[in-house]
Symmetry: C2
Subunit: 74 residues, 2 copies
């Protein structure tokens, strides 16, 4: 799941979903990217090395939707 | 202090400094940037709006040192 899927990404997810934490939009974007980066490094890339086909839905598209349209910056 | 200085940034700092968490170099860079972004949004920008002069040492330079030279990618 995204953001999530690795220990680091799940910690980041916890911050992003915590309503008590006020996160700046740019920070939010960077945190989503951090969680995704770790997911790619830890899970996706090793699978690709084994020639496994990896299908990711709601990946960069989610960022365009949430950080782009959701925040009315596009 | 960096990374740190805001609630969000201190949480990120905790992740970065936790030796039990294995963080990918790209994720690490994005997390440092996240912490810094929040610091700018929450602390630096409001001060600048009040015409306060803000001096930051070890800001982007730290990234060049730690993520650049420290990881021998430069």
């Amino acid at each position: 799941r995204e953001p999530g899927g690795t220990d680091v990404s799940e910690m980041i997810r916890g911050m992003l979903l915590n309503p008590e934490i006020d996160i700046d939009p740019v920070t939010e974007l960077l945190l989503f990217s951090s969680a995704r980066s770790q997911l790619v490094a830890e899970k996706v890339r090793p699978l690709l090395k084994e020639n496994v086909i990896v299908i990711l839905d709601r990946f960069y598209d989610s960022t365009i939707a949430y950080q782009g349209f959701g925040r009315e910056s596009m």
